[in-house]
């Protein structure tokens, strides 16, 4: 019973940590066909933005959090103008963009090292307490992360399903040419998607760095895990990405608990390798669509 609770608790907090990042990754893939390798760096930007504002300005933590969303907004737009805008028509876009975003990520991370040094920092947006569940403590921070991830998912679903711009995003994702024939300005929609992803990534970055120490490279592992989650969910499938975040969180916890912490991450990677070999488009995946 204790084992179950331990795995449940740590899997839940892991899942909550990765859910928002996975959604950001999945959204961009589904609608632009872009595997955004700079997502890890965007998580770091969010974390550092909140940290810097609260640390160097007389700003309360919640304002720091909100302002970091603004910084994420700008980061998404910059990424669009530096890469996507010039590349999306190229036939090899889907692979070139991976390389381009890796390059951008390296630039951002090293800039963060220059500005903030590589030493770990502590996120001000942090709740230390927890409640006792049997013999296991459920941290409030995990519950907050879970709540915010849920809110992000709900707002995004509402936006995509209920607004005109959201429907246009889905239309572009399903058939770019047909959407253009309806008069949808594809470049504007891409910019919109990048900006939304930037905001979600920033939020996710703040949540993440509240749980693990913040360094410029803090986004590497979450990025890889978000990949795994999205591949298993089928890239572009948002609800499946959300659910898969938790399933994978529990899987990782269970492996760590049973076989030792060093096998948690490799086990996930092996899982994704198996999934890719077995189902080239992910377990719930089809080719490339955004679904909500």
């Amino acid at each position: 019973m204790t084992a179950f609770l331990v795995i449940f608790e740590s899997g839940l907090s892991l899942g909550a940590m990765y859910a928002a990042a996975s959604i950001a990754l999945s959204l961009v893939w589904g609608s632009i066909g872009m595997l955004n390798m700079a997502l890890g760096a965007m998580l770091a930007i969010g974390g550092y933005a909140s940290f810097a504002l609260v640390e160097y300005l007389p700003v309360p933590w919640w304002l720091g959090f909100l302002a970091s969303l603004g910084v994420g907004f700008i980061a998404g737009a910059v990424l669009y103008y530096v890469t996507v805008k010039w590349m999306y028509r190229v036939p090899t876009f889907d692979t070139s963009i991976v390389i381009a975003t890796v390059g951008v990520a390296i630039v951002i991370e090293n800039l963060l090292v220059k500005i903030f040094t590589a030493y770990a920092k502590k996120q001000p947006f942090l709740v230390d307490d927890g409640i006792l569940m049997g013999s296991v403590t459920m941290r409030y921070q995990s519950l907050i992360n879970l709540g915010i991830a849920l809110v992000i998912m709900l707002i995004l679903s509402w936006y995509l399903n209920r607004t005109r711009a959201g429907t246009a995003i889905l239309a572009v994702a399903q058939d770019r040419d047909a959407a253009q024939l309806m008069g949808v300005p594809v470049e504007r929609i891409f910019l919109l998607v990048m900006v939304i992803a930037g905001v979600i990534a920033a939020a996710s970055g703040v949540l993440l760095t509240a749980v693990i120490p913040m360094s410029p490279y803090v986004g590497h592992e979450p990025l890889l895990k978000a990949f795994i989650i999205c591949v298993i969910a089928g890239l572009g499938n948002l609800p499946a990405a959300f659910v898969a975040s938790f399933v994978l969180g529990w899987f990782e916890s269970a492996v760590s608990y049973g076989a030792g912490a060093r096998y948690g991450f490799p086990a996930m990677l092996v899982l994704v390798i198996i999934v890719l070999l077995w189902k080239p488009y992910g377990v719930f995946g089809r080719r490339r669509v955004t679904r909500v």
Binding site: T167, A171, A178
Partner: protein, 237 residues
């Protein structure tokens, strides 16, 4: 003397730097109905895609009301009143019928959507019944109705229609042509690609024949019917 709405002038266009269309010229007058015929894979769809700016113009020019659309983004061309109803099933399969239709009115003011929707539902009551259904679950005929209905939602002045009768039962085709005829009667300008020779002869007032990306014949429909050699070569007699 009718004014020229759409003018294609020495157009060369294609994919990945390889021309499919070579030095093509045509014009459509205001309120006119022009048909394009020709064998499969000879560039009919490519021509419509070039007109709606989905593919870049490699040479020559395309003019709407005298203004060149060379290098103009596709959505801007739509803004100028061009409606392209694509061949096959370029509907949004993962959206509902209703959302597909509202996407058709993407550029229209919000206040107009309701009345246009009503108009489309009057023409295609089937779509009204199925409005909550995912477009992917529609039958072939229903999809074509949806594509046409989506085009009607945008209320453009110039309609580019690509093979509306392809693979449909004659009754459905009749119904679809009734709608297209009404559009013409309303004074819209129509450029239509059609393989079904009798349909095009009934409907169009001028016809171009494409072969290997070039026009090899043009003229009035009844002239075409008298032209045995063409009928034999291209249209199986």
């Amino acid at each position: 003397m009718a004014t020229t709405r759409l003018e294609v002038d020495g157009l060369t266009a294609g994919y990945h730097g390889q021309p499919v269309l070579r030095d093509l010229s045509l014009h459509v007058n205001d309120g006119g109905a022009v048909g394009i015929i020709g064998p499969n894979g000879h560039g009919k769809t490519t021509l419509l895609r070039a007109i709606s700016s989905l593919i870049p113009i490699m040479g020559g020019d395309i003019r709407l009301d005298g203004a060149s659309i060379k290098g103009v983004r596709a959505d801007r061309v739509v803004q100028q009143g061009v409606v392209h109803i694509p061949q096959g099933d370029l509907i949004f399969t993962e959206l509902t019928v209703l959302k597909n239709l509202t996407m058709g009115a993407y550029l229209a003011p919000k206040s107009e959507i309701g009345s246009r929707l009503k108009g489309v539902f009057e023409i295609f009551p089937r779509l009204e019944e199925r409005q909550g259904q995912m477009a992917s679950t529609l039958s072939g005929g229903e999809r074509r109705m949806l594509a046409l209905g989506r085009g009607l939602m945008s209320a453009g002045r110039i309609m580019l229609i690509d093979e509306p009768s392809l693979g449909l039962a004659p009754i459905v085709v009749d119904q679809i042509y009734d709608v297209i005829r009404d559009l013409k009667a309303e004074g819209r300008t129509i450029l239509i690609v059609e393989e079904n020779i009798s349909r095009i002869v009934d409907f169009a007032d001028y016809v171009y024949l494409v072969d290997h990306g070039e026009f090899v014949w043009e003229g009035e429909p009844d002239e075409l019917m008298r032209h045995e050699k063409i009928l034999e070569t291209y249209l199986g007699g």
